[in-house]
């Protein structure tokens, strides 16, 4: 259904607007386990950046610690990257963004990195509506430390060592909605058709965009009894709609017929097109999205797709009223009040 798939299958043939083929967007060779969901998401990131004709060096990749947090190294080798410490990517991303509003910020995290040690920073980066795309590669476990349950593991889910999780899962999508995130999506590493347009839309969203991607850990949490295994997720997935991201100035083709399609216009003129919306749910209405997730959860379904978007939000820079130039480009002449002003200050202090 998605127009991305053909491109994805033969990416090397076609050049994007900048003249780059998709391999230009690749990174170092992955050292993750063969079959790890995270690698599929990385492929989705590569594809999305390629399709959006992003200049890699104008994007900064940030992460915490974990298998998932390693993956920024496996995409976009011409981007600067920052693999920080466990759970603190949001703060580092916030600082980076404040310093230079002109870059695109991509944060990659894991469910341990975000829902456990990083919970406080996650909550507050949402609250500040930082202009970034924040992807959680959610496998319900701690891959890098060998498979302990994470806080997104479902109650009763069993991991490879046979351990049954006792606690209710933290639902990151609905939590971020509760916290006022201005773009909330959910997807599955195995569904590139859905994932790539979501990533594109997230990268273009002018505030905090969150995508919770279920990403099975083949080594520690892909067994029978796990609710984050490939099989379980495939069986329980419920897509809200098919999604396309249509860049700015793209001619609207006939296939987006009204009625079954909802178009969400982004601030730069691009738009998101959602097909086959469920009846009682409006992706522009927060409460309706909350209810939709709750209802799906009650039915034991994982709702995927773009759950909520507020395309007209103010990001942190707008709220703080920072100047138009990136702060890191300001010069002494812009910043330093100078000697004579200091003498006046001295005078006032006598």
């Amino acid at each position: 259904m998605s127009y991305t798939r053909p491109k994805f299958r033969h990416p090397e043939l076609i050049k994007n607007k900048l003249g780059y083929t998709v391999d230009y967007y690749e990174g170092a060779l992955s050292t993750l386990c063969a079959g790890c969901g995270h690698d599929s998401i990385s492929a989705g990131i590569i594809q999305a950046c390629y399709e959006l004709s992003i200049e890699p060096h104008r994007l900064a990749k940030l992460s915490g610690i974990g298998c998932s947090s390693k993956s920024p190294a496996y995409v976009l080798s011409n981007s600067h990257g920052f693999n920080s410490v466990h759970g603190r990517m949001p703060s580092v991303a916030t600082g980076a963004n404040l310093a230079n509003k002109d870059l695109i910020y991509l944060g990659v995290s894991g469910d341990g990195d975000t829902a456990s040690i990083g919970m406080g920073q996650f909550v507050h980066v949402i609250r500040r509506n930082l202009n970034m795309l924040y992807i959680v590669m959610n496998n319900g476990c701690y891959g890098l430390t060998k498979g302990q349950d994470s806080a997104t593991a479902d109650q009763g889910s069993k991991n490879k060592t046979g351990n049954i999780n006792l606690f209710e899962a933290i639902d990151l999508a609905s939590l971020s909605l509760e916290l006022g995130a201005t773009f909330v999506a959910q997807s599955f590493s195995g569904d590139k058709t859905q994932l790539v347009p979501l990533i594109k839309a997230g990268l273009k969203h002018p505030g905090f965009a969150f995508i919770n991607v279920i990403s099975p850990c083949v080594t520690f949490n892909n067994n029978v009894g796990s609710t984050k295994s490939y099989d379980f997720v495939r069986e329980h997935i419920a897509a809200t709609s098919t999604i396309d991201f249509v860049p700015e100035m793209t001619e609207i083709t006939a296939k987006y017929d009204e009625g079954t399609t909802k178009k969400v216009k982004m601030h730069d003129g691009s738009f998101i097109s959602l097909n086959k919306l469920s009846q009682d749910w409006d992706p522009l209405d927060r409460l309706s999205a909350v209810t939709a997730i709750h209802n799906a959860r009650a039915k034991n379904e994982i709702l995927t797709g773009l759950l909520y978007v507020n395309p007209d939000c103010n990001d942190l820079h707008q709220m703080l009223r920072t100047c138009d130039k990136p702060l890191n480009t300001l010069l002494k002449s812009d910043l330093c009040p100078g000697a004579s002003m200091l003498n006046e200050i001295n005078a006032d202090l006598r």
């Binding site: 011409n78 693999n83 703060s91 916030t94 870059l103 009223r321 200091l342 200050i345």
Partner: protein, 624 residues
């Protein structure tokens, strides 16, 4: 009946107030007036960790000789807090004065035979003069200032001038204040002998000095240094650093037309986040800083290690308070030194700066950014509550418009074009400092992956033992480079005059200098050095090497600076003798004097047992 003599411009007044009753501005008016009369003066706020209702004191030392450290022995108490009155009465020196609100009769328990009482019916006077309850409360404070003006001969013109400045724009508030001043003065004129033996006399000893607190100076320094991103979390006594930065930036950095700001301040959700933001912003090429105190520093340990190992400039202003743990959050101490020096797990060392006065707060804040960016490492400025939250007389701030920001070794797009292969961790200049690039610089060159894990010279992840070792050895090379770059200590003599040296830093300066004079008066000559930075310059080693005994003055229990000296220089316990104060109050000259003379006496009394003695002294310093 006064036992005190020759007290012109040399006495201590202590105001005993209730927290949150508006006494602060009246007390400051008193201090500032003396300052304006050209007389050296230091105020110290002694306040509780509480917002309203508990005892708070404001101690003002007036010193013709310019001794600006705290002094024990209160000559005059202004008592307006019944809660603490018993203690306050006890705190007066024999022969001193006790001013109290005589609206009610003083209970017998407050009566001492050896001090003088000055009762003024503050409450009754204010109830009579004002109707508004808030005014009745507030003007009590101004009334006692008026009374003090009469008693000490503070010039009324000066007080009026100060009120004029304070109420600029709200001039109609001035008369009521002046009236209150007069009420107080007139009451003295009518009922007491004035002036007292302790009194002030106009001088010209202030020169062009200014009066300001250290935190404001840090905030101003950050504006001058070109810091654009501040991230912080409120904590006493550091809060006013970023508040000052904010105020000055709002003044100087906002576009008058668009209202847009050349800076960004984030109140983070905690200190982990604050330092994370600083690291992110610095990584991305903005000058950025945070301010905090002990508990915040503790929380920053992990991220400081990241900044050290990933080599990110990181400026942190730690305004120290009394620890450990929550300790006494509104008292002063110099007790975060060891933690700051070696913060984080693994082998780490951090550059430290130790300002002693507001001018240095300003200067060293600016230097902190240059150093952090040049050395690509955290720089922690260790100030303290005493310096940060009290007003101090200071040399005026200076700025050389020709001074450029030293942004360190950065490759821009053009430079990258001229390089065959960029190696983020290549020691090109053989000083341990490699070149970095900002994100977004060049489409195909200069990008790299920053991480807290080991890597090779080209920033490629590596678990190779050799690569790891080359990297951490380079960090030590950088550390050695830093030794010549960090601010040099202040050495007080061109040539040594004594076998004894004293070594101090930060807010011990005033009392240490006064102690030197006291020692001189006893014919004990000492050389002196004031440390401003860590790692130590070679000068510090020279000072230690060239003296028999070095008294190390610090305001903590565990002799933390001495520990750094022992680790990083060639020194030993026999030579370095600790002079410590750690009860939360600023160290006094008398305390230093006593400790040093006692030590010298005990050294002299058993010259043959010097070695053994050294050991004993050391044991003392460990067990004290």
């Amino acid at each position: 009946m006064s036992l005190i003599e020759n007290k012109v411009n040399d006495f201590v007044v202590r105001f005993a107030n209730v927290n949150g009753t508006g006494s602060a501005s009246a007390n400051f008016l008193f201090t500032k007036a003396i300052f304006r009369m050209g007389i050296p003066v230091t105020p110290k706020n002694i306040f509780p960790s509480n917002i309203q209702g508990l005892p708070t004191w404001y101690e003002v030392r007036i010193s013709e000789k310019g001794y600006l450290g705290r002094r024990e022995g209160i000559d005059f108490v202004v008592s307006v807090n019944p809660q603490s009155m018993l203690n306050d009465v006890q705190s007066v020196k024999a022969g001193g004065y006790f001013l109290y609100d005589s609206s009610k009769k003083l209970h017998d328990q407050y009566i001492r035979q050896d001090i003088n009482y000055i009762g003024i019916p503050l409450m009754l006077m204010c109830n009579e003069a004002y109707t508004d309850p808030r005014q009745r409360q507030l003007f009590k404070n101004i009334v006692y200032v008026g009374a003090l003006a009469a008693l000490f001969e503070i010039e009324f013109d000066v007080l009026e001038e100060l009120l004029g400045e304070q109420f600029k724009g709200k001039e109609k508030l001035i008369p009521a204040n002046v009236k209150a001043l007069k009420l107080g003065a007139d009451y003295i004129y009518a009922n007491f002998k004035y002036p007292l033996d302790i009194r002030v006399e106009r001088r010209n000893l202030i020169g062009n000095s200014i009066m300001i607190d250290g935190n404001s100076a840090c905030g101003l320094g950050a504006v001058y240094a070109g810091a654009t991103v501040a991230a912080w979390y409120p904590i006493t006594p550091s809060t006013s650093v970023v508040e000052a930065y904010n105020a000055y930036a709002e003044e100087f950095r906002v576009n008058k037309i668009t209202g847009k700001k050349n800076f960004a301040i984030i109140q983070a959700e905690d200190e982990l986040s604050a330092i994370g933001m600083v690291i992110g912003a610095s990584w991305n090429g903005a000058r950025s800083f945070t301010a905090s105190s002990g508990p915040g520093l503790s929380l920053m340990n992990e991220l400081l290690g990241l900044a050290y190992f990933a080599e990110i400039p990181t400026v942190l202003i730690d305004v120290q308070r009394t620890g450990p743990s929550t300790g006494m959050p509104t008292r002063t101490q110099q007790s975060d030194i060891l933690e700051a020096a070696y913060a984080s797990h693994g082998d780490t060392k951090h550059v430290l700066l130790f300002p002693s006065n507001p001018k240095e707060c300003f200067d060293l804040t600016v230097d902190a950014f240059d150093l952090a960016e040049y050395l690509q490492t955290p720089v922690i400025m260790l100030t303290d509550l005493d310096l940060g939250m009290n007003d101090h007389i200071s040399e005026p701030f200076e700025w050389d418009d020709k001074r450029e920001y030293n942004r360190g070794k950065i490759l821009d797009a053009a430079a990258l074009d001229n390089i065959v292969k960029f190696g983020r961790y290549l020691d090109v200049d053989n000083d341990g400092i490699a070149y970095r690039t900002y994100p977004g610089t060049h489409p195909t060159k200069g990008s790299f992956f920053t991480r807290g894990t080991s890597r090779d010279e080209y920033a490629t992840y590596s678990e190779d033992s050799g690569a790891y070792k080359r990297n951490v050895d380079r960090l030590i090379k950088k550390w050695n480079t830093a030794k010549d770059i960090v601010p040099a200590p202040q050495v007080y003599q061109d040539k040594n005059k004594s076998e004894y040296g004293i070594l101090f830093f930060g807010t011990s300066q005033c009392s240490a200098e006064e102690a030197i004079d006291l020692l001189n008066q006893k014919k004990i000559i000492v050389d002196a050095i004031r440390i401003k930075s860590f790692p130590f310059n070679k000068t510090v080693q020279d000072f230690i090497d060239s003296h028999e005994k070095v008294f190390v003055i610090e305001q903590n229990r565990d002799a933390q600076m001495k520990s750094l000296l022992l680790i990083e220089l060639v020194a030993n316990h026999q030579k370095l003798i600790s002079v410590l104060n750690y009860d939360g109050m600023p160290i006094t000259a008398e305390n230093i004097f006593n400790q040093i003379t006692n030590q010298i006496l005990s050294l002299k009394s058993s010259p043959l047992k010097e070695e053994a003695n050294g050991k004993k002294n050391k044991q003392n310093s460990i067990t004290n």
